[in-house]
Amino acid sequence: MATSLYGASEAQDVICVFLEREGDTLQRVSLELLSKGRELADEVGWKLAGLLLGYYRMLPLMGQAFEVGADEIWVAEHPLLKTFTVEAYTSAAFQVIMNRKPSIFLCGATPNGRDLAGRLAVKLRTGLTADCTDLRMREGGILVGEVTGFGGGVLALIETPQHRPQMATVRPGVFPLKPPRTERVSRAVEIISVTLDEAQVRTRVVEQVVGRGADITQSPVVVVGGRGIQGRFDLLRQLAELLGGEVGATRPPVDSGQIERERQVGQTGVVCRPKVAIVCGASGAFQFTVGIQHADTVIAINTDPEAPIFETADYGVVGDALQIVPALIEALRNSRVAVASG
C-alpha cells in the first residue's frame, strides 16, 4: 500500500469541508457538511475549516460558511478558478491541502464534488469513502464513513486509519442543516496562494447554461395539468408565474407532445415536494398522485366530483379548470395591482 503524502503524525487537527458555490451562495450540501463537520469537530476538540476556491465575490460566501460553523476559511483566488474545471480545482485544492495538512477532507457528492474528490484522493495517495450515508469519529481521530446499499445486508463501515487526509463524499440531503450560530467565535480567513498554469487546464468552458426547464422538484408551487386542460399549458404557465412556481403535467399531455417529458410528475416522472400543488383537469391515477403526495397542500380542480384526485386533495374545486384558472389569474393580477397602487 502506498503511503499518503503526509501521515497521521504530520496531520493537523482540522476537518476541512470543500465549499461549492452556486452563483452567489454556497450549495446546500456544503452547508450541510459544515453543520455535520462542526458536530464532529466539537466531539474531538478540533477546528473546522472551509476550502473556498474562486476568483470573485467570495466574501458573502465566507459569511455563510462562518454562520453554519466554520472556524476558518482557506481561500485560494486565481483567474483560472473562476469557473469549475476539474484540472484547476484539483491542482488548487491539492496545493492548499498540502499547505494546511488537514486530518479530514469532506466533499459533497455532487457531479463536480465527485470529480474533484476522486482525482484529489489519487494525487494525495489517500483513500476516499464515496457516497457516505453517515459520518462519525472514533477514538484516535479516525473518521468512520457509513456506506449502505439496499436492505440491511450491505452496510459497510469504512475507515482510512493509515492515510491522511481521510476523505469522504456525502450526497446532498443526508445531513440536516443546523440553524446559524449566534455566538461570536473566531473567524479567520487565510489566503493561500496557489500556482496554476493555463496549460494544465484541458477543459475549456465554452458556455454556462442554466438547465432549461427549471427543476420542478425544487419549486415551492407546482401547477399540474392533466388531459382535462386540453393542452392549455399557456394558462397554467401564467398562473405558475404569478405564484412563483413551475408547471408540471400528468402522463397523457406529455404523451401527446403538449409539454416536455421533463415536466411529467409521477412514478415514472418526477416526485416533487412543493408547498402547494394545484392539479388541474387530472383524474388522479395512482401512478401520478405518487408524484405529489409529499406536497404540503394539494388543490384539485376537476369537472367530475367522483374523480379520485379529490381523495388526494386537501381542497377541491368541482368545475372546469379552463374557466377557473383564467378567473384565478385575473384575481391574482387584480390583487397585485391593488397592492402595488395600495
Partner: protein, 386 residues
C-alpha cells in the same frame, strides 16, 4: 469502409452469469424464436428487442450496457416456445443485476428499492397506511386458530386507489362465500417482485425470506394473493428459500369456492366481456381456466375471446419492473391489447392483475376508446352476488 464493432470477451463475466442463471444461459442455441415472439417487435418497427443477440453476447461474456436489458417485461412469450427451455426473463434479471453492480441503472429505479427498504412497498407510500384500503369493511387480523386462509393483499392493491376496489370486491366475495380469512394489516410484508424483476437479486432474497418468516411467525400455511405477481413470487421463488406455505391466486381460490358450492352468483350481469390473461397467471403459472370458469358462472354475462389469448395473450407491458419505467407513447403493448379487445365488440376488458388494469386504463384513454371499461374478474364477480 465498413465499421466493425469491437467486442471484448470477459470470461469472469460469463462465469458469473452462468452461475447466477444456474447454467441456463448456456442452453441457448441461437434459433431466434425469442426475438420473433417478443412483443417489442410489434411496437418498434424495424428495431425489435433482439433477445437472441443479447443471449449470445451474454454467452460470450460481452459486457452489455445496452438499455435493451431493461425492456423485458418478463411476459414469457419467448419462453413458452423456446426449444431449449431457456428462462429468458431470469437471464435478463441476471444481466440487470450486473448493471446494478456496475451502477449502470436507469434513473428512478434505485428509489423503488429504497422505497421497499423504508416503506415496505415499492410505491413510496407510508407503511402505516397499508390497511387503509379496508376502511369500513370487516377485515380481521389473521389468526391461524380461526382462519382457513390468509388474504395477502399486496402493495399495489393496498395503495393504488384503483386496485383497492379489487381488494374490496374480494372481501365482499370472501364474506359471501363464508370464507374464514384474515390479513396481516400494516404488518403485511412486501413480496419483493419489484426487486426481483429489476434484477437486484440479493435484496430480493432478503425480502422474500423476510416475508416467509413473517408468515411462519403468524402461523400462515395458506395464502391467497390479489396480484399474480405476488402469487408467482410466493409460489415459484419462496420455496427456494425454505418457505413453508402454499400460495394461490384469488381466481383459483374463488373457482374452488364455486365448485364446492360455497359461492353462488345470483344477480345477472348482462355484459359482453373479454378476458385478458395476465402473463404471471397464464404463461408463468399455467392458470388459464379458473378466471374463465368464474366469468362463465356469472348469469347473463357473455364471454368472448380475443384473437390472441391464453398462451398467446399479448402482455400489457407492466411486468418485469416496467411499471416503474417510462414507456414512450408509441411503444405501449397495452394500446395494441385494447385494440384486440375492441375488435371483439366487448364492453369490458376484464383481467385479474392490478398492473394490467393500470396499463389498460391508461391505454383506453390514449387509444380513445371511452366505451371500453377495464375491470377485474373480482369486480364482475362481486356484481353478481347479492
Amino acid at each position: 469502409m465498413t465499421q466493425v464493432e469491437h467486442l471484448t470477451v470477459d470470461d469472469v463475466r460469463w462465469d458469473t452469469l452462468f452461475e447466477r442463471t444456474r447454467g441456463a444461459v448456456a442452453l441457448c442455441y441461437q434459433c431466434g424464436v425469442c426475438t420473433a415472439l417478443c412483443p417489442w417487435g410489434q411496437v418498434r418497427e424495424g428495431k425489435p428487442l433482439s433477445v437472441r443477440s443479447l443471449l449470445r453476447r451474454a454467452q460470450l461474456g460481452v459486457p452489455d450496457d445496452h438499455e435493451d436489458i431493461w425492456l423485458c417485461t418478463a411476459c414469457a412469450q419467448c419462453e413458452s416456445l423456446c426449444p431449449r427451455g431457456v428462462p429468458v426473463a431470469e437471464v435478463f434479471q441476471s444481466l440487470r443485476g450486473m448493471a446494478w453492480e456496475e451502477r449502470r441503472v436507469p434513473k428512478g429505479l434505485p428509489s423503488v428499492l429504497w422505497s421497499i427498504h423504508w416503506n415496505n412497498n415499492p410505491w413510496s407510500q407510508p407503511p402505516s397506511h397499508r390497511s387503509r384500503w379496508a376502511k369500513g369493511l370487516e377485515v380481521p387480523r389473521f389468526d391461524p386458530s380461526e382462519h382457513e386462509v390468509l388474504y395477502y393483499v399486496g402493495c399495489t392493491a393496498a395503495y393504488d386507489r384503483r386496485a383497492q376496489k379489487v381488494a374490496r370486491a374480494l372481501v365482499k366475495l370472501f364474506q359471501a362465500a363464508g370464507v374464514r380469512f384474515g390479513t396481516l394489516g400494516d404488518e403485511e410484508p412486501c413480496c419483493g417482485d419489484a426487486a426481483k424483476s429489476l434484477g437486484y437479486t440479493p435484496y430480493f432474497e432478503e425480502i422474500v425470506q423476510n416475508a416467509a418468516q413473517v408468515f411462519a411467525q403468524n402461523g400462515v400455511s395458506r395464502l391467497v394473493a390479489t396480484s399474480p405477481h405476488c402469487f408467482d413470487t410466493f409460489r415459484n421463488y419462496a420455496p427456494r428459500y425454505q418457505a413453508d406455505f402454499e400460495a394461490e391466486h384469488y381466481t383459483q381460490f374463488l373457482d374452488r369456492c364455486l365448485s364446492e358450492g360455497r359461492l353462488r352468483f345470483s344477480r345477472e350481469v348482462p355484459l359482453r366481456v373479454t378476458f385478458h390473461d395476465p402473463c404471471f397467471l397464464g404463461r408463468r403459472n399455467d392458470e388459464y381456466e379458473a378466471p374463465r370458469r368464474i366469468l362463465d358462472a356469472i348469469p347473463g354475462l357473455e364471454r368472448v375471446e380475443m384473437a390472441r389469448s391464453r398462451q398467446d395473450a399479448l402482455c400489457c407491458g407492466g411486468g418485469g419492473g416496467r411499471m416503474w419505467m417510462e414507456t414512450s407513447a408509441g411503444e405501449r403493448f397495452a394500446n395494441l391489447r385494447v385494440q384486440d379487445a375492441l375488435a371483439t365488440g366487448a364492453q369490458v376488458l376484464v383481467t385479474a392483475c392490478p398492473f394490467c388494469i393500470a396499463c389498460f386504463e391508461e391505454s383506453v384513454k390514449a387509444v380513445g376508446a371511452p366505451n371500453l371499461r377495464v375491470m377485474d374478474v373480482a369486480e364482475l364477480a362481486a356484481m353478481a352476488i347479492e
